[in-house]
């Protein structure tokens, strides 16, 4: 009732005052609604990022009595640190194996699964199983499976007449072995993304392509499927590379960084939390963050507004 009376008078200033009063009340309510989120955003994201940047310019060590400002020395040190450079190389090798295999095997699987009408749900579930499973536990299982003397994988290799392979003790095989486990884990996730992409392609386009003379499945793939999956593929590549650069669990379980098998995140963990080189680890973290941010740009674009033609 008061509202109607406030708005009632012909006087423009009175009407404006009434509106702004309601508006102000709504505004305060809205601010109250976002307040917890804003406080947490500041406490968990904004302040830590600023603190991180501050740490990276010092030689701060957790528990140390004095701390010096050393400008960019940490970054200089990082690019002269053989362990860090090795972890960077290892992570890149890991990503170079996981990205193409994880993306293209998943695309192949999705194409095969998509055309199975009745058994589709079954295959989807089978390939998705590793995505939900606790990777730490499954890495332990892989350790057993790949065991040189009692693992079934090497038993099969021996049965085929080859020499057993020391997957987890031969330094050159460590990263590829972990990459294969990475592919195993991410395959189902990517397959489901591709399946969603395939479902979104209008049937008409395939029919038009057939009438246009695309008799070979290969033609239909390159005329319709592949270009129409473009945005999905971009997104899958981005998410796969982000998770490749975050590889941690398999290293923690399988090697603990032995034989020079540290990855970026594992090295970061060791420097920051085992050796308490907080300042140095902060610099490494910033490098890690930059890599992830660069990779995320594509993802955010996709999330923000769907990429389409």
């Amino acid at each position: 009732m008061t509202l109607a009376m406030d708005l009632g008078p012909v006087s423009a200033s009175a009407a404006a005052k009434g509106r702004s009063k309601i508006e102000r009340r709504m505004m305060w309510r809205a601010l109250l609604f976002v307040a917890p989120a804003v406080l947490l955003l500041a406490a968990i994201y904004i302040i830590p990022v600023l603190v991180l940047a501050g740490f990276s310019l010092t030689d701060y060590q957790l528990g140390a009595l004095s701390t010096r400002f050393i400008a960019f020395e940490n970054f200089v040190q990082a690019f002269n640190d053989p362990v860090f450079l090795r972890s960077l190389t290892n992570t890149v090798i890991y990503a170079v194996i996981v990205i193409p295999l994880g993306v293209f095997l998943a695309l192949g699987l999705a194409l095969l699964v998509y055309n199975r009408k009745r058994s589709r749900a079954f295959w989807e579930a089978a390939y998705f199983l590793p995505v939900t499973a606790t990777l730490v536990a499954m890495a332990t299982v892989w350790q057993f499976l790949l065991h040189p003397s009692i693992g079934p994988v090497n038993a099969a290799i021996k049965w085929l007449g080859f020499e057993p392979v020391a997957f987890l003790s031969n330094p050159t095989l460590l990263i590829p072995t972990m990459a294969m486990i990475g592919v195993w884990q991410i395959l189902g996730f990517n397959t489901v993304l591709f399946l969603a992409g395939l479902t979104a392609i209008p049937k008409d386009l395939y029919e038009a392509a057939r009438l246009d003379g695309a008799r070979h499945p290969f033609d239909r793939f390159f005329t319709v499927t592949w270009p129409m999956l473009g945005p999905t593929t971009l997104f899958v590549v981005v998410t796969t590379s982000i998770s490749a650069f975050k590889v941690f669990e398999t290293v923690a379980v399988l090697t603990k960084g032995r034989f020079g098998s540290e990855t970026l995140l594992f090295d970061l963990y060791l420097e920051g939390f085992e050796y308490s080189n907080t300042g140095y680890a902060a610099a490494l973290t910033l490098i890690f963050l930059v890599i992830i941010l660069v990779l995320s740009i594509g993802q955010t674009l996709h999330l923000d507004r769907k990429v389409h033609y």
Binding site: D204, A209, R210, L211, D212, G213, F222, V224, P227, M228
Partner: protein, 380 residues
Amino acid sequence: MQQSVELAGIGKGFGAFDVLKNIDLSVRPGEFLSLVGMSGCGKSTLLRIIAGLERPDRGSVAIGGSDVTELDPSARNLAMVFQSYALYPHMSVRQNIATPLRMRRLSLAGRLPLVGALAASAEVLHDIDKSVEQAAETLQISHLLDRKPAQLSGGQRQRVALARALVRSPAAFLMDEPLSNLDAKLRAHMRNELAALHCRLGATFIYVTHDQIEAMTMSDRIALMNEGQIEQLGTPSQLYEHPATLTVARFIGTPSINLVPVEVLSNGSVSLFGHVLGLAAGGHDAGPATLGVRAEHISIGSEGLPLRVLRTETHGADRFVHAHLLADETLRVTLRLTAGEPLAADTADVIQVSFPPERAHLFGRDGVRLAALPTDRVAA
């Protein structure tokens, strides 16, 4: 460019439901034939069977005299315009129109993305380019060649789809409700353009629509389908003037034909609520029947069937009077006043109407047309 399409004994079922029941249809070379009917009558399935996108359970499809029933759609040399246009969204208009030519004229290697350009012969590519530009010119979309489909209006997309169809001179054009995504005004415009295009190309067109106006205005012949069968095949005027069944009579014509229940007596005369009409049917057709008369054939006079006027409707040149039978309020009748003809009656007035008996259509209980001859010109 001009090929016949012959369908013989086509049958198709989805599960227990028969979508098409034994269809025989022969489309003449260069003809514009429409498949018309309500949704679910099987017209789209029939078109897809001609295209090769569906396999018939029974029967055969022949194009230009050769059996193509077992051929893949890509090998049938047909072009289809889809309801959604089905343009490749990632390709420019130019690439869209070129696709059917690239698929046919280039080798597998030449069709590969990126590296394909190296494998393809420059001469063939030049040829394709020329054909694309010609097709674009025919449809007046030359200025749009470098745009993507998303940047085009509905009418422009429609033209691109047509250009993609005609660029390779197919044996026949198949069109699946191509105008249904356009607004009313553009639809009327495109109807004229399609009819003109058909004249210019002289190609065989098979056109599926649920809109009888589209079929009536463009076709050489219409196949009206109902429940998986062809109810009548004929020219638009044959369907309009001599509907073979009640379904055809109801479907064709705006406003809809007036239908009233009548009784055929054992002596062959036809009775409407006790009035004996000037029509003579066969005595063996005795029993209930339906009489159909079009709005323009009913005239107001000083004697005849009494109607009560509900309202008049002006369409500019024509005016329609909606009325109901005095004998039964549920039976509505529409009649057309010709230009300038005054109506000496207001709403709720009673008028008397008559119609020439040779213009009346009589349908039996099963909906099939009955033979009926006028006895004299006196009606009702």
